[in-house]
């Protein structure tokens, strides 16, 4: 009895303390980015800690949003986040559910075939030629179609589906439910935390991705936000373009940081709402109810 009290009092205390300290260390880089993004040009260049903006100003955000193609870039990024994530979830579930059923034929071979695609890659040239054949070059679809085929996510999803008690599914089958019905009525509601996880992975992938833009899209009106921002931040190199006195000042530090915030904003807003799906017992509770 004495043992139990010690654990129930001291252990949580230690956990709270350790986690708070850790959170403080871990979150600092983000705080730094946030406060520099709201700082003036000079303050942003000051070395040292930046816990809060000493001379609060919106300048960097105004300047960033003033660039051409920023808004179209944002729209394109939102498009790929929404459509891309929806498609990824669809493809992932449709591949993972059959493969998670114990009696599905040729399971091992098919899983291996998927695994292969995670490890081997044809390289830049054949990929480019493929997108050309499919007429996906310079379209927004090139952002969402290829990335929907993600073996890693399918394999993770399979393992989540497998953790659903077989008894639940068998019971439904005995009641005469067919596979699709079982999927929608039982399996998916039970899998919300894992769907949210995969959805988050996909959202963040689509926020950060620019390689597909770099390789397959050259029309600036179809650029994604990440690529537009990268271009703004890369200082023009060696050869100044004309002999004009166009001494463009380098993008201020605050602009770089504002770009980070602007790019990640959609997920920053969404995340707290998604957290509720990770709470204990969500899964079983939803079936009971």
């Amino acid at each position: 009895m004495k043992m139990k009290r010690w654990q129930d009092l001291i252990a949580p205390g230690i956990i709270y303390f350790a986690l708070s300290v850790l959170a403080l260390i871990v979150v600092y880089p983000f705080i730094h980015v946030l406060s520099v993004s709201f700082s003036g040009r000079g303050e942003a260049l000051r070395s040292g800690f930046h816990f809060y903006p000493r001379d609060f100003e919106w300048g960097a955000y105004r300047e960033l949003l003033d660039y051409p193609f920023i808004w179209s870039g944002y729209a394109n990024t939102l498009f790929r986040m929404v459509v891309g994530t929806a498609l990824t979830l669809l493809v992932t579930v449709c591949a993972a559910y059959p493969l998670s059923r114990p009696d599905f034929p040729m399971k091992r071979v098919l899983v291996l075939l998927l695994l292969f695609t995670m490890i081997f890659d044809g390289g830049i040239v054949p990929n480019y030629l493929l997108m050309k054949e499919l007429h996906l070059l310079n379209t927004r679809w090139v952002y969402v179609l290829p990335s929907a085929a993600n073996a890693f996510q399918v394999l993770v999803m399979i393992s989540f589906f497998r953790s659903i008690p077989d008894a639940l599914i068998e019971a439904a089958r005995i009641d005469g439910a067919r596979d699709l019905r079982i999927l929608f009525r039982i399996v998916l509601p039970l899998s919300i935390p894992s769907l949210v996880t995969i959805g988050l992975w996909s959202l963040v992938h689509h926020i950060n991705a620019f390689m597909d833009n770099l390789l397959y899209v050259t029309d600036q009106s179809k650029f994604v936000l990440q690529q537009i921002v990268r271009q703004i931040l890369i200082e023009n190199r060696l050869d100044p373009f004309t002999t004009a006195t166009d001494i463009t000042p380098p993008a201020p530090e605050s602009l770089k940081m504002a770009a980070v915030i602007i790019c990640s904003l959609p997920v920053l807003v969404l995340y707290p709402f998604l957290l509720q799906y990770f709470e204990k017992g969500t899964m079983i509770g939803s079936v009971k109810g």
Partner: protein, 520 residues
């Protein structure tokens, strides 16, 4: 005057846009545009040649059917398909008819892939006479892109380089430590940086300042360019000594420079963090009162409106900066110097079977080189609408962009820059449109033309195999020698290792190339 031009060009642009929308109505626009080149009327009626045009390589992406594109199509009776050259598109066999490359190594790589057309120098002479007279004076540039005795690119040149390096000093620190004259010699330089490190120039009573820092993370060389320069060498550059080509990484003078830097480090004059510093971070150290002098590009440090000066003022309004020449040492003064080379224009291999297209390309090239209107339209836009001379009412000199078009990205939307070919312009044009203040600063502070790479950065056959690794090797040894981690005598170990790991082979190739192509 100004207003009229603005009006005329606005009308002109409107007309040309309308004209290209209503295809077939070209003749109407022709009469409305006074600047259209004359004597092309038969060509203007023929079917437009289709040109796949690789947009300026610094532009992020294509903007289709921009105003400038339409203007060019109209003027030259061509149909332009703007494309962005990427490694992927080229490797997949999509080679534009005309595009730009950055340096001789790129040209060599593309040539090796068989995607370029060789250019007849006589054609250049015949079709671009104005430009040819200029580039002829820099004929060594042709050698940098001559492979198998054929020319593979049209070289471009630049005389007054805004990106040449000089020294940017904290003037207020110099004053504080009692040095009235901005250091000119290496000895004076040494005195100043020692004083910065030891005499508390920021007056905070704490010993937290250094003289200078460097960068060990540069992609091409060693950092401390001006110090090596004072000893007459530049690591990684090929240098000529008595008719022989030697690499700057392994010369005896290099060891002398290292001995000096090593001494400075030991005496606390060089910031120990030079190992992790980049150009960005050493600027930041200057702004934050940590060091008193940096190597800076002239255009970024010499004028009151230069970006580094502006940033310094933003953080540290009381600080004063002064721009000066590189210090003069036993080997003279010098720094890293890219030489007169600029970018290169190349033509896609498929054009060789299309003489008509080639003809057209040269017509455009000539206009982009010597026709003021075409150059301005492709690189600046319309005068009065997009740009104007910095001094109001001036007819030459520095130019500035009009609000709304100050950002490169804003100009991209209209196609300004996409079709510019940069430094293909003639000397006459440059003289008219350059900033006299900046030119003066370059002439006053640049060490050029003292030296550059003896092979003008041509690509050697085995560069791909060895160069990167040799540069890393040099950076590692130099950083350790300077920081005292290994003795100075290890420089000789480095030289032996450098030679054994491909350096000897490169040296031989460099000498062969020099004998065959560059020796005067």
């Amino acid at each position: 005057m100004n207003k009229r031009i603005k009006f005329v060009s606005a009308v002109f642009l409107a007309v040309s846009i309308a004209a290209s929308l209503l295809t077939g109505c070209n003749s109407g626009a022709d009469t409305a545009s006074p600047g259209t080149s004359t004597g092309e009327s038969p060509a203007a009626k023929s079917k437009p040649v289709e040109i796949t045009w690789g947009i300026h390589f610094q532009a992020a992406g294509v903007v289709n059917d921009s105003e400038i594109q339409k203007w060019l199509e109209q003027k030259f009776n061509v149909k332009i398909k703007p494309v962005k050259v990427t490694d992927a598109s080229i490797a997949s066999g999509e080679v534009p008819d005309i595009f730009m490359l950055g340096d001789p190594a790129n040209v060599a790589a593309y040539q090796n892939q068989g995607v370029l057309m060789s250019i007849d120098p006589n054609m250049l002479k015949e079709k671009m006479p104005e430009y040819y007279t200029d580039i002829e004076k820099k004929s060594e540039l042709f050698q940098t892109v001559t492979i198998d005795n054929k020319l593979w690119a049209i070289p471009m040149f630049i005389d007054l380089k805004p990106y040449d390096l000089g020294m940017l000093w904290r003037k207020d620190w110099l004053d504080k430590v009692g040095i009235g004259k901005v250091p000119e010699t290496l000895d004076e330089f040494e005195k100043a940086v020692y004083a910065f490190a030891q005499k508390d120039p920021d007056g905070n009573g704490v010993k937290d300042t250094y003289g200078l820092t460097g960068t060990a993370t540069s992609t091409w060389s060693s950092g401390f360019y001006s110090i090596f320069g004072a000893f007459g060498v530049e690591p990684t550059m090929w240098m000529e000594r008595n008719g022989q080509i030697v690499n700057g990484s392994i010369m005896p003078e290099t060891k002398e420079a290292l001995a000096k830097l090593r001494q400075w480090y030991a005496d606390g004059v060089i910031d120990p963090e030079f190992i992790t510093d980049t150009q960005d971070s050493y600027r930041k150290k200057l702004y934050n009162n940590r060091i008193g002098v940096i190597e800076e590009q002239i255009s970024k440090g010499a004028l009151p409106e230069s970006s580094t000066v502006k940033e310094m003022q933003a953080l540290n309004p009381d600080a004063k900066l002064v721009f000066a020449k590189n210090p003069k040492g036993p080997g003279g003064d010098g720094s890293w110097d890219w030489g007169v080379k600029s970018n290169f224009i190349v033509i896609g291999s498929k054009v060789q079977d299309q003489p008509e297209k080639l003809e057209k390309l040269f017509e455009i090239l000539r206009a982009e080189s010597s026709d003021e209107e075409t150059i301005n339209m492709t690189s600046l836009g319309v005068k009065g609408t997009h740009w104007d001379f910095a001094e109001s009412g001036a007819a030459s000199g520095a130019t500035k962009f009009i609000p709304g078009f100050e950002k490169q990205e804003q100009r991209d939307q209209l196609g300004i820059r996409l079709f510019s070919l940069g430094n293909i312009t003639t000397q006459a044009y440059r003289d008219k449109y350059s900033n006299p203040a900046l030119n003066e600063a370059i002439k006053a502070t640049s060490s050029a033309p003292r030296w550059t790479d003896a092979l003008l950065f041509s690509s050697l056959p085995s560069d791909g195999k060895y160069k990167k690794d040799l540069t890393s090797l040099m950076q590692k040894y130099f950083a350790q020698i300077i920081s005292g981690e290994i003795p100075l005598s290890d420089f000789d170990t480095f030289v032996a290792e450098w030679k054994a790991k491909g350096g000897d082979e490169l040296t031989k190739e460099a000498n062969d190339m020099y004998q065959n192509q560059f020796k005067k």
